[in-house]
């Protein structure tokens, strides 16, 4: 089960220049929430933005990471 810091680091490494704020929703370490700000989200739909982040973890979502709740935005606050 990756730690909060690992999840943050992996997102920020996979999406260069992004900023990920990761928190543990339940204290159990397997329901995580990540708020990700990334230039590369510009012009993408929410679905596409979330998929970019999910793709960092592949099969671990639903496995070791039971749930990863996401909120994505671009640095200028645009959601779409």
């Amino acid at each position: 089960m990756p730690s909060i810091d690992e999840v943050k680091e992996r997102i920020e490494t996979a999406l260069p220049g992004s900023r990920a704020d990761v928190s543990d929703l339940t204290g159990g370490g397997d329901h995580l929430r990540a708020e990700v700000t990334y230039d590369g989200f510009a012009g993408l739909s929410r679905i596409q933005q979330h998929k970019l982040v999910y793709d960092v973890f592949g099969d671990e979502i639903g496995g070791p990471i039971h749930a990863l709740s996401l909120k994505t935005s671009t640095p200028d606050g645009d959601h779409r």
């Binding site: 929410r46 979330h50 999910y54 639903g62 709740s69 909120k71």
Partner: protein, 127 residues
């Protein structure tokens, strides 16, 4: 039932139902908080929807995620297209986009404030 048959049935559900929710449990007895939350929002919207429980066979979830490219449950489809999971549906609920997508009038609700402090997302006030 073969994996192909499961996949065919999922595709039929996605194409055949205008609003299709894949969830854990049933609308009356959701087995996961995220599924329960999406059900609550659909109920507030007053839209008709179909729901399919992915829990009875682990292959349902595997095939669904391969079809949609989306790893988590719940998954909401409208007019054959993936709208999103709990996070996206919640955001769209708060901005009014969900009503647009579903083609229903925005219900009169106490709207969540537009600008929320990070991590301060309040639980939905429903019912």
């Amino acid at each position: 039932m073969t994996n192909e048959e499961i996949r065919d049935q999922l595709q039929q559900a996605i194409k055949g139902e205008r609003v299709m929710l894949f969830m854990k449990g049933t609308p009356d007895e959701p087995r996961c908080g995220f599924s329960a939350r999406v059900i609550s929002m659909l109920d507030v919207m007053g839209t008709e929807y179909s729901a399919l429980d992915i829990l009875p066979d682990p292959r349902i979830r595997q095939e669904l995620s391969e079809l949609s490219g989306w790893p988590t449950i719940p998954q909401l489809f409208v007019n054959g297209e993936l709208v999103g999971g709990c996070d996206i549906v919640t955001e769209m609920f708060e901005t009014g986009e969900l009503a647009d997508t579903l083609g229903v009038p925005q219900p009169e609700l106490e709207q969540a404030p537009a600008a929320q402090a990070p991590g301060q997302s309040p639980p939905l006030q429903i019912g």
